[in-house]
Assembly symmetry: C2
Homo-oligomer: 331 residues x 2
DNA sequence: AATATTAATGTAAGCGTTTACCTAAAAACT
DNA sequence: AGTTTTTAGGTAAACGCTTACATTAATATT
């Protein structure tokens, strides 16, 4: 069923039907009523493709992340989707995994579906081996990058200053007398690297000689954090605080510590990252660095709309993180 | 840039370009090479709308749920998105909240975007006041409903037998000597109702007189479960086990119990629902009823593809849940 | 009442594909 | 070499909409 069917039934021209559909031009109330009634009766839904062909905009934004089942991305996607919907846009979701060729494919899909823009969540950085797909996309549509960095024409990045947050966190722990602060992390992504940098800066600032020796790597799995802690305890390395790159690792660490009879926060303080809902689920609850996904996500959509409206928009924006104090490291 | 530009540059007709794009018809290797090279050089991406106009399929599936930031939906969406992508389909995400008018709007958006089908996750049931939007959708495209129930032409539902799972869980607790089994739930959704039913059946089966008195309602927030437990403890109601309708509530309950010096599982056993990652994060880890989102989600996509291929497909399918034993209720 | 202005509606071209149908060239038969 | 079959490639219509331009009807102005 199409606009012609409606036009015929309502005894008007297709132009009139189109005008009614688009709230444009002059249509008499009577005609409008009549046509709307016919549309309703026939259960007509306009074809967005055909529309997009004429208008060159489908009101659809590609949203890419590696994995929505990750609680962090899920939150970002959820906020973005809601903000977009409110402004009349849909979200075409692409979970690409971490494989670069899959990301390239995803970009091609989004481009072929003629999305009006792309929002990338995480895992983009300038020095990355291959960013040609982002360049390709940016040639035809704006690309907004959340917590990633990539400077190119038609590209806008919004990030959280995780480096400073990490440094501040080390300093805050130091103020409470902590010197031997371990760092357990899970990823060498763009933000992963910035976190480490900040941690090292902080440690150096409080006079630690070889901060690198306090760092251990781990995968996201909580059991991994557990075995890591077990090893560290066995090796009799001294420590009074632990920072982790994600809340899940903090949970794993706390569980392991508790099993060894080490009390959190009395014996060891723990700070997580992301300030996810998990922070409240743990006992003790986890003090966590909030990297403001909500603000980043909201801002991404706002930026996008500004770009659409040709307002002047900053190519890169940075937002400050905040330490949210809970039980695992009291203020 | 369009097919004409490519055709011109490559000195062939648009038909040839189209044939190459669609791997259809006969094109000589030489010509193919030449055209592909031009496409690559110009960074051409075919316009999926125009294509859809001709083909009447955009290879896009609408995926609806109330909220992707919910860990349960996030997992389902993630699996669905991956399965779809593997088969060459994209997922157009619609997070509708719980408001019926927003759901109707979302359906209209999906229909106007001419998705090839819709997968609904949760919150649909036959007796619901208004399901006209689902009927409307099903009139033009197949609608797959995960963990919801709605019988109509072109509608397929895949659910988990949560009722039986709940009953079995009560019986399992009873076998271990539990009689006073509380049930804390968060939602009167379709699956919420089935869970309660199963709980009551189980309680009756083990000879409880007024099972309803053991039931309390709560929102999803863990603090709510906590205050609820506090109240129950104050009121000196006897209980030795708690079942919750979601893992988060189990976490809240365990935290509250622990604060009161009540040990889990020594004094009170706790069983959660969904078998989410949270179950492992808690200490003690939570025994949880796995309602098999992964299987449901995978199956939804498989069903969809079968429908597309005109294979005969069951209108309704039910999958069995499973109790995953962890520390909070040992086997 | 005649004219100018504005409102309402219609016609037709264009958006970028696919594909049925057609023609020309090449290959495979006699 | 002449005919048939196959392969390669082209032309033009169709998909469902938007919109510039054209036309007619209604209203306002003189």
């Amino acid at each position: 069923m199409n606009i012609y069917d409606i036009a015929e039934k309502a005894e008007v021209s297709i132009a009139t039907v189109s005008r009614i559909l688009n709230h444009k031009g002059n249509v008499s109330p009577k005609t409008r009523e009549k046509v709307l009634k016919v549309m309703d009766e026939m259960g007509y839904t306009p074809n967005a493709f055909a529309r997009a062909l004429g208008l060159d905009s489908i009101k659809m934004i590609g949203v890419m992340c590696s994995d929505v089942s990750d609680i962090y991305y899920a939150k970002a996607v959820s906020i973005i989707e809601n903000e977009l919907r409110e402004k009349g846009y849909d979200a075409l979701l692409c979970c690409t995994g971490t494989n670069i060729s899959d990301k390239k494919k995803a970009i091609d899909v989004l481009l072929s579906k003629r999305v009006d823009a792309i929002i990338l969540i995480g895992s983009v950085f300038q020095e990355s081996t291959d960013n040609s797909h982002i360049k390709k996309a940016a040639k035809s549509i704006p690309v907004i990058i959340i917590n990633g960095e990539f400077k190119f024409e038609n590209t806008y990045s919004i990030m959280c200053d995780e480096q400073k947050a990490m440094r501040d966190c080390v300093l805050a722990l130091s103020e409470k007398g902590h010197k031997d602060i371990l760092y357990i992390y899970d990823s060498d992504s763009f933000s992963g690297k910035r976190k480490i940098k900040g941690y090292i800066e902080g440690m150096e600032q409080i006079g630690t000689d070889n901060p690198e020796t306090y760092i251990s790597k781990c995968n996201k799995d909580i059991s991994c954090a557990g075995t890591l802690i077990n090893d560290i305890i066995k090796s009799e390395i001294k420590f009074s605080a632990i920072i982790t790159s994600v809340d899940t690792l903090a949970i794993g660490a706390i569980k392991a510590l508790t099993k060894h009879g080490i009390k959190v926060p009395e014996d060891v303080s723990v700070v997580g990252f992301n300030n996810s809902i998990l922070a409240d689920f743990s006992s003790p609850t986890i003090t966590s660095i909030d990297n403001k996904v909500d603000i980043l996500s909201t801002d991404a959509v706002r930026t996008l709309l500004d770009v659409f409206e040709n307002k002047s928009v900053a190519k890169a924006k940075t937002i400050q993180a905040e330490i949210i104090y809970r039980e695992s490291f009291a203020k």
